[in-house]
Subunit: 409 residues, 2 copies
């Protein structure tokens, strides 16, 4: 609820319903007494809320937890993992992935394919997604929403992609393209479609189920060809006014640096991105790609000097950009994802050194590798699509789907 | 309330009490019907909450609003502006200011003096503050808290100043120094003391009563010798994990730039701060100061070429840093304060040009001058000290002060 507005008893009941469902979604199965402790609500309130969530088809009670708790045994409660699903989609530079995901972040099924061409049209990409999704959708598990992670700058409201340089897209109403292409498949004329930047969804995923869990102030920076990012501030994902926040790839770090596709010069991704690293390591442009990167890192680990220097030079620029972002966000944790996670052992000491030289305060953030690897954006896309149901368990489905007459899953 | 925890009816009542007091604090006198509209609470709830706030000595009802509203006339309600005060303090590089401020942001009285020496000890500074404050404090207006804005990097919990380069301080437990020095003066052993960075309090003030009012995503950048900043994200002040967020002065923007006092090179404030501007304009270091700055800006306006180029070059670096920060925050509005506000007419076109060249999205933020001038930090310090009372009108004073047996102010 917004701080400027008053609240009502009805709003409290709905807030508490959401809190209980979210605890189970994030925390796994819990006894009713554990729920009472975590939510600071009393047992009879918990009992009523669990009953209501059960009636909605969202949770089920199991046998009591008998693990030596004092007093009466307390029934275990868990989400219904398989009665509904969201369709999670990731559109990366070199692959497309689709998953069906239920409450609890339970992945029912997934597919990922390499993309043959990095200049595909939006409708072609959605066609690939549709073909993959068709294999995953089951009639007994209604799809309640569609979440899409994409390597581009996306308006939060409607999924309009302003620019996706690594896909070659400009001004694509991608939310509409997805809705047209996928809604028929999921048998819904109004399944909500959410599109967001993959860095923003990466940090959402890491905050929900990865290395940022339990941290309220987190910076996530993921490097491949470009550099993506996301931030959690005060426990919430930072979106900015229109959903463009934490576009860190184009931070100006070196006015004497190389030209960038964005029109600037010396953007962070021109200095600390994968192309720079491969170039420094002497890999010809025609050989660039994940395999070449893995080769350079292996050579660096084996002590090959040019490879080592290439990784370390990129690490130095990574550290310079992180210095600024740590000054801006004062995070507890910084998560490095993508190629930065894959070369973490070499990069981390270089980064820490730069931060130590330039840090303003004696408590710089802890630098850790991201935990979810290449699945982060997909997991984040699922969380984005599940959010309305978690926020409003009793109305989030908006009458589109009835779960209560279905078999228990 | 935190999203993870359940809520109770008692919490709702207290939340609503806070909402009503905050509406009056920020919005000035309002009729009870206007309060009902703004808070989305019904009239009888508003009546009860206003009655309770009246009993606490925090608001008073006046004559009805008869300006043609339909239905029964609705009594006007306003905060008690003079029954209590906070002590607001600003410690700037070249001056110290103190004000007493009541509910509604009503400034009862204020004093500002130039500082003779920019390397004063913390206790000396607090001595200056005490002498000024002694002239302002009145026995009939209890001081309920002390808020301090300072040009340094401050831990939010306890006001520990890690470093204040422009004061020559390192590792000063300044919250303690303030408490020891000022609590006896305000006749309280436990008046809460809050210390924060002046950029953070500048944005708080502009958001509450200045050019950022009504905006949920705001970046504030204020330049003098150093560059300070603050941000509002999703309607809340960004503090970071420990209170150090938005330390923008040391963003690395130019690896080939000048050495900075922080140990880095080419920090934003070495490229876009006042010293650089005066240096480019040919002002000798011995003449540096606000008067010299005003002279250069006047000369630039009059068409003197070297002065004009100096201001524009600083504007270019201001724009480069802002490009990065706009990519990070995606604000609706960017407020330029301090010397950037005083030279806004010359700087703004230069900045807009840089942003246009480098912006990633077609909706760059609106760039406006800050509205509160040199009072911003002081007004923010008052808001910081008033916050506990606004958050918990019935317990925020923690029994320290009773207002109900005092005359109406």
């Amino acid at each position: 609820m917004r701080i400027e507005q008053g609240s009502t008893h009805e709003a409290v009941r709905r807030h508490n319903l959401s809190v209980v469902l979210r605890q189970l979604h994030l925390g796994g199965d819990l006894s009713r007494s554990e729920l009472a402790v975590r939510t600071e609500l009393n047992r009879s309130t918990i009992k009523a809320l669990v009953h209501q969530l059960g009636g909605l088809g969202l949770v089920a009670e199991g046998p009591s937890d008998l693990r030596g708790t004092p007093g009466r045994p307390s029934p275990m409660v868990g989400v219904q993992r398989k009665r509904l699903a969201v369709l999670a989609v990731e559109i990366a530079v070199d692959s497309v992935a689709v998953a069906t995901v239920g409450l609890g972040g339970h992945v029912h099924d997934r597919r990922r394919v390499e993309r043959p061409d990095d200049r595909s049209e939006p409708a072609e990409i959605v066609g690939m997604v549709r073909a993959l999704a068709a294999e995953l959708i089951r009639p007994d598990r209604p799809i309640i929403g569609i979440g899409v992670a994409i390597v581009g700058i996306v308006r939060g409201d409607d999924g309009f992609v302003h620019v996706a340089p690594n896909l070659g897209w400009t001004a694509v109403p991608f939310g509409d393209v997805v809705a047209r292409g996928l809604r028929p498949l999921v048998n819904s004329d109004d399944a909500p479609v959410f599109v967001a930047n993959e860095g923003d969804l990466g940090v959402l995923a890491e905050h929900t189920r990865g290395a940022a869990r339990g941290y309220d102030d987190v910076l996530y920076v993921s490097g491949e060809v470009g550099i993506g990012g996301g931030a959690i501030v005060g426990g919430q994902r930072l979106t900015g006014a229109s959903g463009y926040a934490v576009e860190v790839g184009h931070l100006p770090v070196n006015p004497q640096g190389s030209r960038c596709g964005c029109g600037g010069r010396g953007c962070w991704e021109t200095e600390a991105g994968q192309r720079r690293l491969l170039h420094l390591a002497g890999v010809p442009d025609s050989d660039a790609g994940p395999a070449a990167f893995a080769g350079v890192v292996a050579a660096a680990r084996a002590g090959e000097q040019r490879a080592r220097q290439a990784v370390e030079e990129v690490g130095r620029w990574l550290g310079i950009g992180l210095t600024g972002l740590i000054n801006v966000f004062n995070p507890e944790r910084v998560l490095l994802g993508g190629m930065y996670a894959r070369a973490f052992d070499i990069l981390e000491p270089v980064v820490v050194n730069v931060l130590r030289e330039r840090a303003l305060t004696p408590s710089p953030a802890e630098i850790v590798p991201a935990a979810l690897g290449s699945d982060a954006a997909l997991i984040g896309a699922a969380e984005l699509a599940l959010a309305p149901l978690l926020e409003h368990p009793d109305t989030g489905l908006n009458g589109r789907v009835s779960l209560t007459d279905q078999p228990t899953g």
